[in-house]
């Protein structure tokens, strides 16, 4: 399903992108312009349903006249600006950022990370075997989902989704500072003692798999998780009248997780606990 956005026509902004004159609607970011022009800029913390925090810095590009590089995901296109996306400087920063991340976190379930590490010739091992890592144990405190912060890149998307951008539950926030900063409930309490309502919208937006369905986590641990063997079927949730879209991920005739299409203009990928996790009855055979 494709959403047809209904809003006022926007003025166009003209600027130079890698030597080409491009025109994008006012308010669009450099990343929007790149994608429209078919350029592949790596992104990790950017998401289609949230305001990016531009914290990961893998999408940096060179804006002429600026002292530092700019995050393509958040910097809005301005008339007359000159942007270069693939310079030596930008590539160097992306490479180092990928190295820094991959040396400290587990990116094994981050889509496209391996591909970008190869493309930018990043060598996460070069900081040596003693390089500090997060070294977090997965937090398994309920039957619905697992928090494995060893995979967390601190993109703030789950915090924004749980907080004022979507769910308004505010069960999690960033605690601590610097390398010790972690996504945390109050007093680091188990999720079951927190304000969490198990909507799972944080799982929906997590770009690294740090937050995952317990079903997926268990299957990965058992070595039975196989995305290539899964089908995805988008249907309508039958619980209540809101009518959210559900995408059922099915492997060997079992629902293994539930996501929701982000381009749905009503829900933007959000669900509640019933739609997200209440699928067992389907499988009572």
């Amino acid at each position: 399903m494709t959403a047809i956005p209904l809003h006022m026509p926007r003025r166009l902004v003209e600027f130079t992108l890698d030597g080409q004159e491009v025109r994008v609607p006012e308010g669009d970011t450099i990343l929007d312009a790149c994608r429209a022009a078919g350029k592949d800029i790596p992104t990790l913390c950017q998401g289609d349903t949230l305001t990016p925090k531009n914290a990961c810095r893998v999408c940096v590009v060179e804006v002429e006249g600026a002292r530092t590089l700019a995050p393509a995901c958040s910097r809005r296109a301005e008339p007359g600006m000159t942007v270069l996306t693939d310079t030596e400087r930008a590539r160097h920063s992306r490479k180092v950022v990928l190295e820094l991340l991959a040396s400290s976190t587990d990116l094994s379930t981050t889509p496209r990370a391996a591909e970008w590490i190869k493309e930018y010739e990043a060598k996460p091992d070069r900081f040596g075997p003693d390089a500090a890592r997060l070294n977090e144990e997965p937090k398994i405190d309920n039957d619905l989902y697992v928090r494995d912060y060893d995979k967390c890149i601190l993109c703030y998307k789950c915090v924004d989704a749980c907080g004022d951008q979507w769910q308004n539950t505010f069960a999690i926030a960033v605690a601590g500072r610097g390398f010790d900063a972690r996504i945390s409930t109050e007093h680091d309490a188990p999720l079951t003692d927190s304000a969490c309502v198990y909507c799972g919208n944080c799982i929906e937006v997590c770009p690294t798999g740090a937050l995952s369905f317990k079903s997926e986590f268990d299957m990965r641990a058992a070595g039975t998780w196989d995305e290539s063997a899964q089908t995805e079927t988008t249907t309508v949730c039958a619980y209540c009248g809101v009518g959210c879209n559900l995408t059922l991920h099915v492997q060997e005739n079992e629902i293994v997780k539930v996501t929701s299409p982000h381009d749905n203009p009503v829900t933007h990928g959000n669900l509640c606990i019933k739609g997200r996790f209440g699928y067992q009855h389907v499988q009572q055979r």
Binding site: K53, N54, A55, C56, R57, V58, V60, T68, L69, P71, S74, R89, H92, S93, K95, V96, V97, L100, L101, S103, S104, R126, F127, G128, D130, A131, A132, I153, L154, G163, N168, T169, F170, A171, I172, A173, V174, A175, G176, R177, G178, F179, D180, A181, S184, T185, E186, H187, D188, A189, D193, S194, A195, V197
Partner: protein, 627 residues
């Protein structure tokens, strides 16, 4: 908002009392009152009003920390109920600041400086071995007391200093937290002594034991004037009153020319003030040297209202203590200057964001604001000119990053002190999303002589390390580094000078002819930064100094962006590896440092990550640190 509280943890009476002393008693069960009456269960209100007060989160955390010494689950929970702040967010804020603890700890905490100037003077961490077991010793970044290095700050939690007035004991504003009286008249339900602080510098073992045993009776600090070796020199402008006026007396300030500049400002009108400041070419003294007139003009011309003024008195750059000396020696000057700045930009509210480690400056500024208010120099109708302006002090709680202009906004608003992405710039969307001008203390104080007709511009320098007469020096722009260090008494065998602070750069003893101007230092590949001149003689181990700088940035990174959060860790690791190495043995790690440093400079969100590698890079390139 859907807030859920854990009902297991309850605030103690003392914790509730500390919070209520700040916020007033709770009106209903919905905002933290005990129990809900059956009547109250029929409606829920108060949330929206309480959320408007989110900016009182940091003061509320201070209130409990000052009283009890740490932030329990129950106390955090109560604060959250009072202000309708989600508990997870309040926990995130509480764990952001190094002066707070969410684990129990003794009422006495000794913050011991382990930073550059103190380390160059032998440090005081070992001296702290002598203190009793009832004291929690916490290594601290620079305490801004470098001229009296090595330094330490004792904080003893206890009954709030506001109880002082109730007992009729007039506090000495110069020693704000010393309640000086033993035993009598405790506030209800409390057995502990009053909150107290003691600044110990130089921190000898005896002085530390004295201060930790009985902070009330610790020897008084020398006056701010003692930090001005040039005292009495008629050429002094910014420091002219430091050590001369009584910093607690508004009358004395007026007798020494105070408030003439504000009168002139009213005569000129806001546009006229901005014109004079612009014509004088005043550049910001907080490190970035941005033209103040332009900043004010840009703020004044915003259509969105209200406008805000923020005075950046966070001063946590290692080696910097000029703002402290100005505030302690001439606090009314800052209040007057803020009033003028507020008038120029069309603000009616100014926030003075003061670093949490400056108890004496806090007391003096509180006194100055209260006196100015009492005399109609702040408030509804300043000087009878129909202009309303007031100033609120906000205490930081130990986070260097909160000196970054947008991090200050988050900190004041009750969020984690993480810098915001720019654009939008503060002049457009600053504090509470409104047009805001942020200025450094020294910048603001410069406005007074400009309006009083002074022509020559001067700069304050913070001399510390191995010099005979450390302190604040005021000199006209353009004197050379050599001339400055000569004044302060150079060491016999100088090894290096760190110019501009931890975010600045090292220069060699043969480069001392650099003219001390913003352009001159830039041309020489260095920076004036916040005016730090840290002189190191050849007894210091350079690799250890570099390690300390790296450790500082790793500790102080807010953690928001990857290049800085992980980059500072990788740099510190590399410096550890090459601590005792030179030449080819160090080459690989130096190449690594350069690569990581380049990405940090280019891709970090804010100035902390962008400059964290400057000093170490300069030590490698200019001093040949690992050759």
């Amino acid at each position: 908002m859907d807030l859920k509280f854990t009902d297991t943890a309850k605030a103690t009476d003392e914790e509730r009392d500390a919070v209520d002393a700040l916020l007033g008693a709770p009106g209903t069960g919905w905002e933290g009152g005990t129990g809900r009456s059956s009547d109250e269960l029929r409606w829920a209100r108060g949330g929206a009003a309480a959320r408007e007060r989110r900016d009182l989160l940091l003061p509320a955390l201070h209130a409990v920390n000052d009283r009890v010494g740490w932030l329990s689950e129950g106390a955090l929970d109560y604060i959250c109920r009072r202000l309708t702040v989600p508990p997870a967010e309040a926990y995130g804020v509480a764990t952001f600041y190094s002066m707070f603890s969410v684990r129990p700890r003794p009422a006495k905490v000794l913050h011991v400086c382990t930073d550059l100037a103190c380390a160059a003077r032998g440090g005081s961490l070992s001296a702290a071995d002598a203190v009793g077991p009832d004291v929690s010793v916490q290594p601290s970044p620079c305490l801004g007391l470098c001229e009296r290095a090595p330094a330490a700050l004792l904080v003893r939690a206890g009954r709030s200093p506001s109880a002082r007035g109730a007992e009729g004991t007039e506090g000495d504003p110069a020693r704000p937290a010393l309640d000086g009286q033993g035993g009598s008249g405790r506030s209800p339900g409390e057995g502990r002594p009053a909150h107290a602080t003691a600044v110990v510098a130089p921190a000898t073992p005896t002085a530390l034991v004295a201060a930790t045993t009985d902070p009330e009776r610790a020897p008084a600090e020398p006056s701010a004037g003692a930090a001005v070796p040039q005292a009495g020199d008629p050429a002094l402008t910014l420091l002219a009153r430091v050590g001369v006026v009584d910093p607690a007396s508004l009358d004395d300030y007026r007798a020494h020319g105070g408030y003439a500049a504000l009168r002139r400002a009213f005569a000129l009108g806001p546009a006229g003030v901005i014109r004079e400041v612009t014509d004088a070419g005043l550049l910001g003294r907080g490190g970035a040297a941005f033209p103040t007139g332009r900043k004010w003009q840009a703020t004044a011309s915003q259509a969105d209202h209200p406008h805000y003024l923020v005075c950046n008195a966070d001063e946590s750059e290692p080696g910097t203590f000029k703002d402290r000396v100005l505030m302690e020696g001439d606090p009314f000057a800052l209040i007057e200057a803020m009033t003028i700045a507020g008038y120029a930009i069309g603000a009616h509210q100014g926030f003075l964001y003061l670093r949490g480690e400056y108890p004496r400056a806090l007391g003096l500024l509180e006194n100055a604001i209260a006196s100015a208010r009492a005399r109609g120099l702040l408030g509804e109708d300043v000087l009878g000119q129909g202009y309303a302006f007031d100033i609120e002090i906000r205490r930081g709680a130990g986070a260097y990053i909160c000196g970054e202009e947008t991090a200050i906004f988050n900190s004041i608003e009750g969020y984690r002190g993480e810098p915001r992405t720019k654009p939008p710039f503060p002049v457009e969307k600053g504090l509470f999303g409104k047009p805001t001008a942020v200025n450094n203390v020294e910048t603001l104080v410069n406005v007074l002589p400009i309006l009083n007709g002074r022509t020559e511009e001067t700069k304050l320098f913070c001399l510390s390390g191995n010099v005979a007469r450390p302190g604040i020096y005021e000199l006209p722009f353009g004197v050379t580094l050599r001339e400055l260090i000569e004044l302060a008494g150079p060491p016999d065998r100088m090894r290096a000078v760190l110019l501009g602070g931890a975010a600045g750069s090292f220069v060699r003893p043969d480069e001392l002819d650099i003219p001390l101007t913003f352009e001159g230092t830039r041309a020489a590949g260095t920076t004036l930064g916040s005016g730090v001149v840290l002189v190191l003689d050849d007894t210091v181990e350079l690799p250890r100094v570099l390690l300390r700088i790296a450790e500082f940035f790793r500790d102080e990174s807010c953690g928001q962006c990857v290049p800085c959060r992980v980059g500072t860790v990788r740099q510190e690791e590399a410096l550890h590896r090459i601590k005792d190495r030179t030449g080819a043995d160090a080459a690989g790690d130096i190449a690594l440092l350069r690569e990581v440093g380049a990405a940090m400079r280019d891709a970090s969100i804010c100035g902390l990550g962008q400059t964290a590698w400057n000093a170490v890079e300069s030590a490698i390139d200019r001093l040949g640190a690992y050759e």
